[in-house]
């Protein structure tokens, strides 16, 4: 039976059009941003604004700097030796390099989900409430509530509610990745960074994650790095194309994929690259 004939399901969350969701247009603002690993310039003159509660996808070939930029949004690159940056990144008007801003509190506001799902070797429950434990929440009821809320938001609650105390490592790949998302959500961040979250997953798990992203953008601003242009097209509202550390084009996803203004973008998305 073709999907056309399926009666519309009533239980689905009605997604509000993007226009209703829009908050601040330059929620994350990247200005003339350059970044070096030692002598190697990884990013050059990046300037883009990420609106609040939208999904922005970074695409581009490997080594184009999209992951570097993503990891700089919560300063995960700080631990790398010999890094240097110029320009500035502000979140809601405040620079992430503000000396008064502890990197820890920045990361609490800017959650991150990694390419390879990395649940801790703990129980599902402990994984989800990890961020709360880290800040010293001891109240069991509070932790349980946060756990349920986050797992529900990550569309994982029904699958794991009966085995919260089992090891998280017993979950399937897609479930693990959703657990990692739940873990990031439990921290109540404003921004979720996703670094190729589906690259190791099968299409069904990928589909579930994409559904999740689609629903989470009601609440969070999401920046996603992906190698799959189809994925970028499916989930994002805006897309930025990077090449060799430069920002080639940044526009609405429809524009980028239907009628890009740059020849390089056209070549990349149509597979005529290189």
């Amino acid at each position: 039976m073709p999907s056309l004939m399926t009666p519309p399901s009533t239980s689905r969350i009605q997604v509000r059009p993007a226009a209703e969701r829009e908050g601040r247009k330059d929620y994350i603002s990247i200005r003339d941003y350059g970044f070096w690993y030692g002598q190697k310039k990884a990013l050059e003159a990046i300037s883009l604004d990420i609106p609040e509660r939208q999904v922005v996808a970074f695409i581009g070939p490997s080594g184009c700097g999209k992951s570097t930029l993503l990891r700089n949004l919560n300063r995960m690159n700080d631990l790398v030796d010999g890094i240097r940056h110029e320009g500035d990144i502000t979140i809601n008007g405040r620079s992430i390099y503000d000396p008064g801003l502890e990197v820890i509190s920045l990361r609490r506001r800017v959650g991150m989900v990694f390419q390879k799902s990395n649940p801790f070797p703990k129980s599902i429950f402990e994984n989800v409430v990890y961020a709360l434990r880290v800040v010293g929440v001891r109240d069991r009821a509070l932790l349980e509530e946060a756990c349920e809320t986050s797992l529900r938001k990550a569309a994982l609650w029904d699958e794991v509610k009966d085995r919260l105390d089992d090891s998280a490592l017993g979950l399937s790949g897609g479930q693990m990745q959703r657990l990692c998302i739940a873990r990031a959500i439990a921290n109540r961040p404003e921004i979720l960074l996703m670094d190729e979250p589906c690259s190791a997953l099968d299409p069904i798990a990928t589909g579930k994650i994409e559904e999740l992203i689609h629903e989470l953008k009601e609440q969070f601003t999401i920046v996603i790095v992906t190698h799959s242009m189809q994925q970028a097209a499916r989930v994002s509202d805006r897309t930025a194309f990077f090449y060799l550390g430069k920002q080639i084009e940044y526009d609405t996803t429809e524009k980028i994929f239907m009628n890009p203004s740059q020849a390089q973008t056209e070549a990349y998305i149509s597979g005529r690259f290189g």
Binding site: S3, L4, R234, T253, M258
Partner: protein, 217 residues
């Protein structure tokens, strides 16, 4: 698993159905205008055409967006391809209705025609066939779609009789007036509507079964 972008397919389908209903309404109204010589109805029909054109553009935009962003597969591809043709056929139907309305106004300018030949009958069948075509799309009914293919011949036959009665061997050429010529155009337009309905039904068959029945004997 239902994906969020399937909502857009549903939207596309709803828009197509709306287009179909609009085109059918126009056909019905224009037939009434022809029968009753009602110019206001004909004007109304001509006004409705713009709305259908808008819908066609919207449907096309939706199809393009979906093809670009969501990488459709299987029945979704057929739906999008069929939708584009169906949208086009429906727009053509609306255009034909609009043409009929123009002819009807020309006729009524010259005074009402007593003898409308087989046009009213032809119109009824055309409406029925269009209804059938739209329903087959809405309901996904293969039988209805195949019925459309058969009944299209009835319209063709009536159209031929209209022509023969006026200009054929047995025809009485003295009787022929300028209005009759208009009537022949109307009959021809109805026949075109039937053809478009048939095209829609062919697309529905393609959509439902993947079978290409165009140009089949």
């Amino acid at each position: 698993m239902q994906r969020f972008f399937h909502d857009e397919l549903r939207q596309l389908r709803d828009d197509l159905i709306l287009m179909g209903e609009r085109s059918l309404d126009m056909t019905r109204l224009v037939l009434r205008a022809v029968e009753q010589g009602d110019d206001s109805l004909a004007l109304q029909v001509r006004g409705m055409d713009d709305r259908v054109d808008e819908l066609e553009k919207r449907v096309d935009r939706e199809i393009m967006r979906y093809l670009t962003l969501f990488g459709p597969m299987g029945s979704d591809v057929r739906l999008l391809l069929a939708a584009r043709d169906i949208g086009h056929d429906l727009e053509r139907i609306a255009d034909e209705a609009s043409v009929i309305a123009k002819r009807a106004m020309v006729i009524s300018e010259r005074g009402p025609l007593k003898d409308l030949l087989h046009v009213p009958a032809e119109g009824i069948i055309a409406c029925e066939v269009l209804r059938l075509a739209i329903d087959s799309f809405i309901e996904g009914d293969l039988a209805k779609a195949r019925l459309v293919l058969q009944r299209d011949a009835e319209i063709d036959a009536l159209n031929r009789r209209n022509y023969e009665e006026l200009f054929g061997k047995s025809g009485d050429s003295a009787k022929v007036s300028a209005s009759h010529v208009e009537l022949i155009f109307i009959s021809k337009a109805l026949e075109r509507i039937g053809d478009h309905s048939k095209n829609i039904a062919e697309q529905v068959i393609f959509l439902l079964s993947g079978e290409d029945v165009r140009h089949a004997r």
